[in-house]
Every structure is written in C-alpha cells, then in structure tokens.
C-alpha cells in the first residue's frame, strides 16, 4: 500500500510543474510528473502508446508530457482513456459535467498524432437515464477518435441491471458487457466489475470463466490491456476500492509478459507496478474524490471555485518497444494544448 500513497502527497498543480524539470523518469519508468499533476487534482484522460508490446502513457496537455511525447521514436500506436463522466450529475461538486466531458473530448481532439482508440472506463452516466446516455453519446460523437470502447460502472448499471447500458453502449458484448478484441497485436479485454457487494466490485464466476478461456489461446508474449471500472486490485478496501475476486483474474494474467490494467471509479490517479503487471486508475472528467482515508467516506469532493478543471483529466497511453518503460501520463482539463 505504501507505494500507492506516495502519489497522494502531490503538491499543487503549479508546484508540480515547477518541480517537474528535475523529476523526469524514475527507474521503474513511470512518468511521475504527468500523474502528479493529475493528483494535484487534475483529471481528464490518459493517452497510451504501445510499442513492441509495452504501453507508455501520458496525461494530456501537461507541458512535461508534450515535451517528452512518446509519439517520437518507435511508437506502435497510442490510445486514450477517459473515465467517470457522470452525465446527469448536477450537484455542487460539478454542475456542468457535460461541459467538462466536452472539454476532455476537445483535449483528445487536440492530441498530436492520432490515437487509434478511445477507452471509457465507466460511469458514463450518473443514474443510467436514457437522456443521460443520449447526452453522453452526443458529446462522444464529437471525438476525432471514432473507435471507442466502453465498460460500465455501477452508475450505469445499478438502476436497471445494465439493461439500458447494454442497449446503448454494450451492443455485441457478452454477459453483462464484457468482451475482448485485438488491436495491432495487443489484446484488449473489457470487464464489468460494477456489481458491488459492500461497495467492493465483483466479476463473478461466469465472467471469470470466460476470461480464462479468452486468454487461453494467447501466447505469453501477447501484450494485454485489461480495462474495467472499479480497480481490479485493492486500492483501498475500506471504501470498497477494489475487486473482491480480482485476484483470480490477475492469476490468469500472470503468465503474460506485459499486462496493463486500467481502471476508473476512484476519480484520481493511482499507479502501481507489480511484476509484469502495471496498474493505473484514471481521473474523472466530472469531479474529484478524496484520497483514500483522507475523508470520512468516498464521494464527490467540492473544490474551490476555479479549481475544478485542474482536477479533471484525460489519460494518454503510448505502446512502446518491449524494453521501454511504461509511460502513462494524465493531463488536466485546464492545462493548455
């Protein structure tokens, strides 16, 4: 857990940028600058680049991220992650969630190069109303990236057992919205762990059985990207920030050389590398949540006026050569580019 918490001591966004010059890449290869700025409550999305089977990522628009844009040498392709748009939410923490999702899309459209895919890791809507799905679809239609893949969050599924989600965003998926596809040699697996027991995510036996079978035919050198809403690993079980049977899913992934797990739900970036598996959670496009244990409970966090967009973000990931480090970069909606 200690590794997690180091990300929570983030300075403010301004300080992060100042300190960024010395901070560069750490020996584990994570671009800490990028996600620190998100932890200073920026959060929008992440651009990921795949090269030779290893993903690197950066947040949109931070000066540091632009400077070391891994579009450069050897990138096979890049993709973007956004999360937790909560269309329909209208409380004090963000009265204009459509506006901030639009800002994220604008940011994505301004990413240099052209990311191949856009992943949305759930809580597209606040309460799974038809009108909320409509608004989200309308805004997402404006994305320059047309190949968009979704997984549901509990806000998309708890009202009606995912019925409307499956109709609007989960066509052609299995069970309650899980599926896989291969893009340029990278195997992507979308999971639904939004069914909660005491706030903790679950995958369930049926989905686990499918996952085992889905992975069975792949060679260990196949790069894997798993994306699901609730963190697959135990970020903070006290608040239900984990998946009760996530361990089993991760067991099936042990034999692969490069595994990247992307989640949302907790509205802040937390990263961890464990053996061959790197974990990352993305910021929300709607509102921040408190750092684990820093408040009596999880929930929308109101931030001082004018600060909101600095805590929302987009994640860009670049898939780089096998020996290159993982680079995940989160950028805030506020930063320029």
């Amino acid at each position: 857990m200690s590794k997690l918490h180091e990300t929570n001591d983030a300075p403010t966004a301004v300080e992060t940028k100042k300190g960024a010059a010395q901070q560069d890449q750490h020996k584990d290869g994570i671009d800490r600058r990028g996600f620190l700025s998100c932890m200073a409550w920026a959060g929008t999305g992440l651009v990921w680049t795949m090269a030779g089977g290893v993903p690197t990522s950066r947040v949109f628009g931070t000066a540091s991220a632009e400077a070391q844009t891994p579009h450069a040498a050897g990138a096979d392709f890049s993709f973007v992650q956004i999360s937790d748009s909560h269309i329909g939410f209208n409380k004090a923490a963000n009265p204009d969630v459509a506006g901030t999702l639009q800002a994220a899309i604008d940011k994505i459209n301004a990413v240099p190069g052209s990311p191949d895919l856009l992943l949305h890791t759930g809580d597209i809507t606040q309460t799974a109303r038809a009108s909320e799905f409509d608004t989200a679809a309308q805004i997402l239609k404006g994305s320059r990236i047309k190949d968009i893949h979704y997984v549901p969050g509990e806000h998309d599924t708890a009202t009606d057992d995912a019925a409307l989600y499956l109709e609007r965003f989960g066509k052609g998926t299995r069970g309650l919205g899980w599926y896989s596809f291969t893009h340029r040699g990278v195997h992507f697996v979308g999971l639904n762990n939004s069914r909660q027991v005491d706030a903790m995510g679950t995958l369930g036996a049926e989905q686990l059985a499918w996952l085992k079978q889905d992975l069975a035919a792949l060679t260990p050198s196949t790069p894997i990207v798993v994306f699901a809403h609730i963190p697959l690993w135990m970020v903070y079980p006290e608040w239900g920030w984990g998946t009760s049977d996530g361990e089993q899913a991760l067991g099936y992934l042990k034999r692969f050389g490069s595994v990247t797990v992307l989640n949302g739900h907790i509205h802040q970036t937390v990263q961890k590398v464990e053996g061959n598996v790197s974990f990352h959670t993305a910021c929300s496009t709607a509102f921040p949540q408190p750092a684990p244990g820093s408040a009596p409970s999880a929930g929308p966090m109101a931030v001082p006026a004018g600060k909101l967009r600095s805590v929302l973000g987009v994640t860009e990931v670049k898939y780089m050569g096998r020996k290159s480090p993982l680079a995940i970069v989160d950028s805030s909606l506020e930063s320029t580019t």
């Binding site: 329909g88 409380k91 038809a130 009108s131 509990e154 009202t159 027991v197 239900g240 009596p296 409970s297």
Partner: protein, 296 residues
C-alpha cells in the same frame, strides 16, 4: 442560338429552383420520416384524457410538437434541410416519450417517464434551445413546472397507494377481481397498472444488493450512511455522518411513505440532498422497503 429569357422568366426560374429543389428534397428523410404532413393540421392538440387537465394543457402547448404524434409543423417544415432537422429531433423525441400513446405504456414505463419529466422540467432542460429559438413562448414558466410536478407527484402517489392496496386486497379480494379495483385505486382508468405483488423482503434483499450496496451497507457508513435500523429512525440521525443541510433540517421519520417518496426521487422529495439515485419501479421500492424494515 441561346434562348433569351426575359427578366420575369429568369426570376420565375430562380424561384422555381430556390423553392422547388428544397421542396423535392424534403421527400428524402435522412434522419427518419416523422410523417409531418400526413395528417391534417390540428387546431387543438388532443392528448390522452388520463393526464390531468392542468398538466395536459402545458404538455399540449409546449411539448407535444415533438413528444406526440400530432406535431403542428410550420410551413417552412416542407423545405429541406429544415425538414430534416425537424424530423431528426421529432423522431428521437417520440422514441423517448410519445404522449399520444401515453396510455399504452405499462405502469413501470410510466413511472420511469414521470420521473424523467419531473427531472427535465425542474432542471429547465426542456424544451431544448433549438425549439425555444422559434417558439419563444414555449419556455416553461414556474406555474407550468408546478403543473407538471403536480401530475408527476399525484401519479407517483397513486402508484404507491396501488402497491399498498394490492397488499391489503390480497387478503380480501380474489386476484381475478383485483384489476378492476386497482383502476379505482390508481385513479387512471385508461392506464393498465401492473399487478404489483405484495412487498417481499427476500426479493428486497436481492434488490438491495443490486441497487444499493455501491453506496450503502447495513453495518457501516460508506458514501451513504449505514442502513441497518433505518426503518423507524429519524432522518439524518447517524452521528458523525456528513448529511446535507436540507436532509439534516428535514426531521422526518423513515417509514413506508417517506422511504417510498425518497427512493422515487430524493431530490423531488427534499430539494438539495446528496443522494442522487432512484428506484423507478414501484414494486422494487416496496420490496426494498420491506427488506429495510426487517434489517435492524
């Protein structure tokens, strides 16, 4: 030798092209055919009588152009591309809510739509800007919103009463006769209220796990307060839980009626509260409440 046209003939030709081409193109329906001119234009928009007259007149005046089958299409709607834009919005609007077929929606669907109508009216999202641009008078006034909310609340209350009534009826009236009694209870003879089953705590427990446990547990506070013993408890009474000011000030006791209203739409019941989740189906609410009643 090129044909020479008089100025009048040229003007006529231009007019023919400017009006004729859009008129012809309006026969194409790239965004769906809303049959805008299929029926003669109605002087008065007729909506189902099951909707109370106050709400019905607001709906007829401000909503029915898109949310019913009796659209009063303006003359310029005969010309593309305006016709396309109109059709796109109207086809989509009718898919969501077509007031002309209100009575054919089942009780669950009606409850869902009612909650949606209340939310849209309160938030001021409807009618949408492109409609208001042309129909300036259609912006909902305070009394219009009040009329719509009045309808929504009375219909929601009727559905809850119906639930309770079935509960009572079960012991006295054979199921075959319940339907006719139900019509009296719900006060809406045209609509077909679903046969609500008696509240059941076992079904409620399952629903609690599917709907509520993302934010609540019985034994400890999560994003929402712990719910063991919530039935019969005064509102906002868990010490140390950060309730919203409006809920803290509400001073209500959680029972069948208050919990049902709360679960239907917390914000409509007590404005400005934190909980932003609803259980649209009356049967599910009744079952969850039955579960909470025994989960002490």
């Amino acid at each position: 030798m090129p044909m020479r046209l008089t100025r009048g003939e040229r003007a006529a030709a231009v007019l023919l092209i400017v009006l004729g081409v859009p008129l012809l193109l309006a026969n194409v329906h790239p965004f769906g055919n809303a049959q805008l001119f299929a029926a003669p234009r109605m002087q008065q928009v007729q909506l189902p009588q099951s909707i109370p007259v106050g709400a019905r007149s607001v709906l007829a005046a401000d909503c029915a152009d898109c949310h019913s089958s009796v659209t009063r299409t303006p003359a310029y709607g005969r010309f593309a591309p305006v016709s396309w834009l109109l059709e796109r919005d109207i086809v989509e609007a009718r898919q969501h809510l077509n007031l002309s077929i209100w009575d054919s929606y089942d009780a669950d669907k009606q409850q869902e739509l009612l909650a949606e109508i209340a939310q849209q009216a309160r938030a001021g999202h409807m009618p949408p800007p492109q409609y208001l641009l042309v129909h300036r008078g259609a912006r909902l006034k305070q009394e219009d919103v009040a009329a719509l909310l009045g309808w929504v609340h009375s219909a929601q209350a009727a559905a809850s009463t119906a639930t309770a009534a079935v509960d009572t009826l079960d012991s006295v009236v054979p199921p075959a006769q319940q339907k006719s009694v139900m019509h009296l209870v719900s006060g809406s003879p045209q609509s077909q209220p679903a046969q609500l089953l008696p509240p059941d705590a076992t079904r409620g427990a399952d629903l609690f796990n599917r709907r509520c446990t993302g934010c609540h547990s019985l034994t400890s506070n999560h994003e929402g307060p712990r719910l063991g013993g919530v039935y019969g408890r005064p509102s906002a009474s868990i010490a140390g839980f950060p309730y919203s000011a409006p809920l803290t000030a509400a001073h209500i006791t959680w029972n069948e009626q208050t919990l049902d209203k709360w679960l239907t739409d917390p914000d409509a019941f007590i404005s400005g509260v934190n909980m932003d989740f609803r259980v649209p189906k009356p049967q599910e609410r009744a079952d969850i409440i039955a579960y909470l009643k025994q989960a002490q």
